[in-house]
Amino acid sequence: MRSFARGPGWIAFAVFSTLAAVSVWAALTGRLGGNTDAAPPVDRRSAVAEAALPDPVPPAFVPPKPEALSGLDHVSFWSPVRRSIPVRVRANQNAAVIARLSTRTPEGTRNLVLILDRRRDARGTLWVRARFPSERNDAVGWVPRAALGGYGVVSTHLVVDVAKLTATLYRNGKRIFEAQVGVGMSENPTPTGEFYIRNKLTKYANAFYGPVAFGTSARSPTLTDWPAGGFVGIHGTNRPDLLPGRISHGCIRLRNTDILVLERLMPVGTPLTIV
């Protein structure tokens, strides 16, 4: 039997196959004629279909450019006390108890603490170092994080100068408010140190305190048997003629127009420095 691969028929078949393969490759890649820069053939059916499709619907809004957080140096955190809890000298369940936190203030609002630091103990329990209401200057201690609620954030800081008889409010480190004040007389001085704003009272019927009164975590060092614990407030007055001066029982008094401005600017939880 004669072999097909050895005869002229085999040569003709090989040449034909090669030419056919090159033609198909050239057609698919657009390299026919050796022009490698030639554009691929246009699929006119695809272009027609594209022309029939609508453009994207413009969005009704576009978010602004994302911005990094700023001003964190001036941010303070506060937190409500969820359950009555002992305050300990260290972040340890067996550490000495230095105070006990209640969930309510004497005015019936939620008791708050100012957050200063956080730490986990050896068991993995998260503890919070907090400033709390006390007659002691700079009273701080540790409580379990679980005893507190969510964190509130403020970027304000109130500084009361008992020598200059002024109250100055800062926001993000910038002064935004200043007013003359009345402070404690010499026998009942306004305590100095680091405190915070614990609550705000309005719409009460007592002209002595003016239209707004802020409760602070500071307590009078002398009026320890005062009803409700002798806490120092920041409030208006019905005797603006006495301001500025050393005329109070430890509270910080402002003119009513000033306390109303402060009400707008100063949130609860604001750190308070009395110097």
Partner: protein, 233 residues
């Protein structure tokens, strides 16, 4: 076809268990307790939204959807912002820090634009208690994964229901960005960047159930009163 009325369990919503694990650790409840509370269901965060197929599309429903999206963006933005403010993000490695700062900035931008669009109809920012999750890098990142996945599921469910074309277009743009967030977050914690070949949308009730089970959204502490002052005067 997606059954919008089918009640999913948390296990189905949270395929990787990231949310469940993080929240069980945070709340101290057992796995069983947590799953039970997550399956109980609750009313939607905002009225005006319904999962019913008979809910009528229109401006009123669009406003409700925008407000629900805003409530969710508040939750997310607060989550990243608190972690950053507390220093948790700063304590992470450079890659995670960049991821978390970027997502936080995006979520805050989303809050700003939704508030602007809603104007006086914008819901007020709720008070959140993240229960220590923002204070630990591990729980923070794992919860972020679950939160981003849930955002995708929420927007995937609501975007098609927005009646206004321009708003719907914007919602889809938010959706694709949130999907990228979810993928990035998954990569950060080392789980599969894409869990499934198809993302099933979630109903408001399903999303709301998960949010409520976290107990992140709490009542604002009563720090103002009308009682007579008892200060020293």
């Amino acid at each position: 076809m997606v059954d919008f009325h089918n009640r999913l369990t948390l296990a189905q919503l949270d395929a990787d268990g990231a949310l469940e694990e993080a929240l069980v650790a945070a709340t101290g409840s057992t796995r069983t307790q947590f799953l039970r509370s997550a399956a109980l269901g609750s009313a939607a965060l905002l009225t005006g939204l319904s999962d019913s197929a008979t809910a009528s599309p229109g401006p009123r429903q669009d406003t409700a959807i925008l407000n629900y999206a805003l409530a969710f963006e508040y939750l997310q933005a607060g989550f990243y912002t608190e972690a950053e403010s507390l220093g948790t993000i700063r304590a992470m490695d450079a890659e995670r820090e960049r991821w978390a700062r970027t997502l936080g900035a995006h979520e805050r931008a989303h809050v700003r634009i939704l508030k602007d669009v809603l104007g006086r109809r914008a819901a007020a920012r709720p008070f959140f208690d993240y229960r220590g999750i923002t204070e630990d890098p591990t729980t923070f990142t794992r919860t972020a994964v679950a939160m981003e996945d849930l955002t995708v599921a929420l927007l995937g469910g609501q975007a098609p229901r927005v009646a206004n074309q321009g708003l719907r277009s914007a919602f889809f743009s938010l959706l694709t960005v949130e999907a990228r967030h979810a993928t990035w977050a998954r990569r950060i914690v080392g789980v599969a960047p894409v869990a499934e070949a198809f993302d099933s949308p979630k109903t408001i009730a399903q999303v709301d159930r998960v949010i409520r089970s976290t107990r992140f959204r709490v009542s604002r502490p009563k720090s103002e009163g009308r009682g007579s002052p008892r200060f020293t005067g």
